[in-house]
């Protein structure tokens, strides 16, 4: 097992390099660069724009730019400089990490906590009224874009007299020291993003859990277990669910990058101080090293998430061995 993990970690290195080359190529395929916006400003002459390009190294060939960036990472742990913020990119990403992980974490926890029991209920009460109802809600969750759901929830909240629209806190609590009132205020704001962003994930998980459990419930060993006279409870929770959960563990690994990337449009609509809108701005401004670092971080989380999922699978399922 240990050798397997080491081998997986080592293969991540060439993988990351290939991903970085792909990402950089795509960024460079975008027309224009960071200095393009200066060309439309009457205060700045094109001559000065050329100077700025030179200073930022944007006049060099993309290959040179890429290699210089890589060299900075490998030799100094320097992920480059944000053109827009005039600061090192890792600082900027770090500043926004807290809320990003907190909101995404809450959303993921919400979707799992809601989805697993509902999935189990739907599977065990197949074709019942509540199965149809929950499945229907699930389909709605999958089909409505989260930003739209966010708008609907905000509208409902506003028209019912609520004042908590957008953001994570009321104005006076932003930056204030933690207190009970601030926590209450956070909860009053947080339910909209958690439901809006979490519901689509929830719906998917319900479908997956239901389908997977139904497959398992149809197998012979379940019939055997029932035949041995085990209680329904033991059959389902001890035997069926443990086997049905495997596909969901793989999904769990895939969700790790969502901790930072999440849903960009929904975050803008909900006015969340998370990485999504920040990343979107960087893309629009061609703030290339910020975009690169963000994409690399996201890719790394994806690889690590997959590895974690594989390890978890090995732990939960004795049939899986990687040696």
């Amino acid at each position: 097992m240990f050798r397997y993990i080491v081998r997986r970690l080592v293969t991540m290195i060439p993988m990351m390099i290939v991903i970085s080359i792909l990402c950089f190529t795509v960024i460079k395929l975008q027309p224009g660069d960071f200095t393009t916006q200066f060309l439309t400003d009457p205060r700045i002459t094109p001559e000065q724009v050329a100077q700025i390009r030179e200073r930022l190294g944007l006049d060099q060939s993309p290959v040179v730019q890429y290699l210089t960036w890589m060299k900075g990472i490998l030799t100094r742990g320097d992920f480059g400089y944000s053109f827009a913020y005039k600061r090192p990119v890792q600082e900027l990403i770090w500043e926004r990490m807290g809320w990003t992980v907190a909101v995404a974490g809450a959303t993921i926890v919400f979707s799992w906590v809601v989805a697993i029991p509902i999935g189990i209920y739907s599977a065990t009460h197949k074709y019942s009224f509540f199965d149809y109802l929950l499945t229907f809600i699930g389909f709605i969750g999958v089909s409505i874009p989260s930003f739209f759901l966010a708008l609907i929830l905000m509208y409902l909240s506003l028209s019912l007299g609520g004042t908590a629209v957008g953001g994570l806190f009321s104005q006076q609590y932003i930056g204030a020291p933690w207190s009970w009132a601030k926590v209450v205020d956070l909860v009053r704001h947080l339910w909209i993003p958690v439901i809006a962003i979490g519901l689509s994930g929830t719906a998917g998980l319900i479908r997956l859990m239901r389908g997977s459990l139904l497959d398992v419930l149809g197998t012979q060993y379940i019939t055997t277990a029932k035949g041995k006279g085990l209680s329904q409870r033991v059959v389902i929770y001890k035997h069926a669910v443990r086997n049905a959960i495997n596909p969901l563990i793989s999904v769990f690994g895939m969700q790790l990058p969502e901790l930072i990337s999440g849903t960009i449009i929904a975050s803008i609509v909900l006015n969340l101080p998370t990485m999504g809108p920040f990343f979107y701005d960087a893309l629009i401004n061609s703030d290339q090293y910020l975009v690169m670092t963000f994409l690399m971080l996201s890719a790394l989380l994806m690889l690590i998430g997959n590895l974690l999922a594989d390890i978890l699978l090995a732990l939960t399922d004795p049939r899986i061995r990687y040696e």
Binding site: R43, Q48, R87, P273, F278
Partner: protein
């Protein structure tokens, strides 16, 4: 007794010196005298990327910094007149090339006195520093020579101009003074081992806020990344209201970062934000709510400021197709196209009636420069005249309603504009239907505004709808409206690759416009300057190098809890952060 006299004397001296450095704000900014205390909450569409006014191009940063740092001379927010700022007075010598500024006795918010050194430093090493990404070198360079700055004594500074410069005080209103003692370490010319680009790294968002000092009405007190910027009143601010009360009234000024326009409006409705700029589409709904007793007022102000930028229609004089190039360069063709623009319909349909007929491009409210004669020159909507003119140009109906070029090819036009700018988009659709009616096959190319900018710069378009803000002084928009400059984009061949004007490629009237801008720049007499710019406006109205379409009104909604944000009798919205107060 002696002690008492001394004490009384001392009180007098202190009182007098306090009065001496204060200045009464123009009564035009007041609807009523305010009361101190409270906070005003405003929205920001993006988080500031830096607190360095000269390091970035970022409206969020500018919005915040205008509360913190100040220029030598200011524009009266109500009347647009030039008034004293950090310079309490100034005089110009007879040659018009030496301007001496007498500085006000004020302190930076950390207690350091503001002196002539700060002014010379700011102008030489920051404002006129070509390595600063938000510099204004171009505005302080005349005929290739820079304006020079000289300290006379601690409180006196002299500017030496290469030639007389009519808009000098106007451009100075945009040069905000930064403290030398905080900015100096970032300047390459004054420090060994500092790189030229380092100036841009001054006052980034991670700078301790106590280092960001200014002379303005507010100082930064808190920044919560991507969420909120809080400013506190500067208790030593030098402005007082007409009754002598200390300004600003507000204890706190809060900017909430709200990216989405609809969410910002929702937060305004729920009372979290006190003042928002709105669009013509939101106006009727909010106005109805106001009349139904909502706790806010909706103001529609006559256009006086550069934004919203008035859209114009332009044709590419250097388009690759030779036949089209000749057509686009033909005055009669562009005049015909002006006749196809139904400005009144556009104002009604696109702007919900909240717009006016634009200037060319000076705003009608700009008494200092507007030339009313253009109103008689601008062409009315008249498709019949448009047809006649097109016939004269040689673009004729071949019999089946399709107009063909002299070569016999059907006349097709591609109209490019920004899909994400609602008025431009809607105007393009209206123009398309008018042109189809004339027999011109029109293709709309609706792309993102960034892409529109790129196509414009690269000359990859035929017809385009674009917009530039109106500025109070034409000199400030020289880079756009003077032929041969970098943003005279419809006729780019008037500029060579070294960014120098090519007189040989200009039409006669373009040469005249070129000269008028050169003359206006160095003229000090306001009457003569107006005469030059009047002529320019008349030429533009006649030759229509670009066709101005409409100018949106200034629309705002303000909470009734906030005072001194109001419509003046002339229909203009006034309301500054240092005169606003909580009722």
């Amino acid at each position: 007794m002696k002690r008492l006299v001394l004490a009384v004397l001392l009180v007098f001296v202190i009182a007098f010196s306090a009065v001496a450095q204060q200045a009464v704000v123009s009564p035009a900014l007041f609807e009523e005298i305010g009361k101190p205390g409270g906070e005003l909450v405003l929205g920001l569409a993006t988080a500031p990327r830096s607190f360095n006014f000269y390091g970035i191009i970022d409206n969020a940063a500018y919005t915040i910094l205008y509360n913190i740092i100040e220029p030598l001379v200011e524009e009266n927010p109500a009347t647009g007149e030039i008034i004293p700022g950090l310079a309490k007075s100034w005089e110009v010598d007879e040659s018009g090339t030496e301007v001496t500024f007498h500085l006000r006795d004020v302190k930076w918010s950390d207690g350091t006195p503001f002196t002539a050194d700060d002014v010379v430093f700011t102008m030489e090493h920051v404002v006129m520093n070509p390595n600063a990404e938000g510099n204004s070198v171009d505005r302080f360079t005349l005929g290739g020579k820079p304006v020079l700055w000289e300290k006379i004594d601690e409180k006196t500074v002299k500017a030496i101009l290469p030639s007389p410069y009519g808009a000098f005080t106007r451009v100075l209103t945009h040069a905000l003074m930064v403290p030398k003692h905080k900015y100096e370490p970032f300047i390459a010319a004054l420090n060994d081992g500092v790189e030229p680009g380092t100036i841009n790294q001054a006052w980034t968002t991670d700078t301790p806020l106590s280092d960001i000092v200014g002379t303005g009405p507010f100082v930064l007190s808190e920044y919560v990344v991507d969420q909120k910027v809080t400013l506190q009143r500067n208790p030593n601010y030098w402005k007082v209201d007409p009754e002598g009360n200390q300004l600003p009234y507000l204890d706190k000024l809060v900017y909430l970062v709200v990216q989405d326009e609809q969410v910002m409006l929702a937060q305004f409705r729920s009372g979290e934000i006190h003042r928002v700029t709105i669009t013509g589409q939101n106006y009727p709904g909010l106005k109805r709510e106001e009349l139904d007793g909502a706790n806010y007022r909706v103001l529609a102000g006559s256009p006086v400021s550069p934004v919203p930028s008035p859209p114009h229609l332009a044709f590419n004089w250097d388009v690759e197709d030779e036949e089209l190039r000749a057509i686009f360069r033909n005055d009669k063709f562009r005049q015909a196209m002006e006749h196809t623009i139904d400005r009144h319909r556009i104002i009604e349909d696109v702007y919900n009636t909240l717009a006016i007929i634009p200037g060319v491009p000076v705003l009608p409210a700009n008494a200092a420069f507007y030339n009313p004669a253009i109103e008689d020159i601008m062409r009315e909507y008249d498709l019949e005249k448009a047809r006649q003119l097109l016939d004269e140009v040689g673009i004729k109906d071949r019999g089946d309603g399709v107009r063909v070029l002299p070569s016999g090819r059907p006349f097709e036009l591609t109209l490019t504009t920004a899909v994400n700018v609602q008025p431009h988009n809607d105007i393009a659709v209206i123009l398309e239907s008018e042109w189809q009616e004339l027999g011109i096959t029109t293709h709309l190319q609706l792309v993102s505004s960034t892409l529109v900018g790129q196509r414009r710069t690269a000359g990859e378009y035929q017809a385009i709808i674009e917009a530039f803000g109106n500025q109070p002084d034409p000199q400030l928009r020289k880079a756009i409206w003077q032929p041969g400059r970098s943003l005279y984009y419809w006729h780019r061949s008037t500029m060579d690759e070294n960014q120098e004007p090519v007189l040989a490629n200009m039409e006669d009237w373009e040469l005249r416009v070129f000269d008028l801008f050169e003359l206006g720049e160095v003229e000090m007499d306001p009457v003569q300057r107006k005469a030059y710019y009047d002529e320019w406006q008349a030429i533009y109205a006649e030759r229509v190098p670009v066709i101005f379409i409409a100018k949106g009104m200034e629309l705002q909604a303000v909470s009734n809890d906030i005072g001194n944000i109001f419509l003046r009798p002339n229909g203009q919205i006034v309301g500054t952060n240092y005169t606003a107060f909580v009722k």
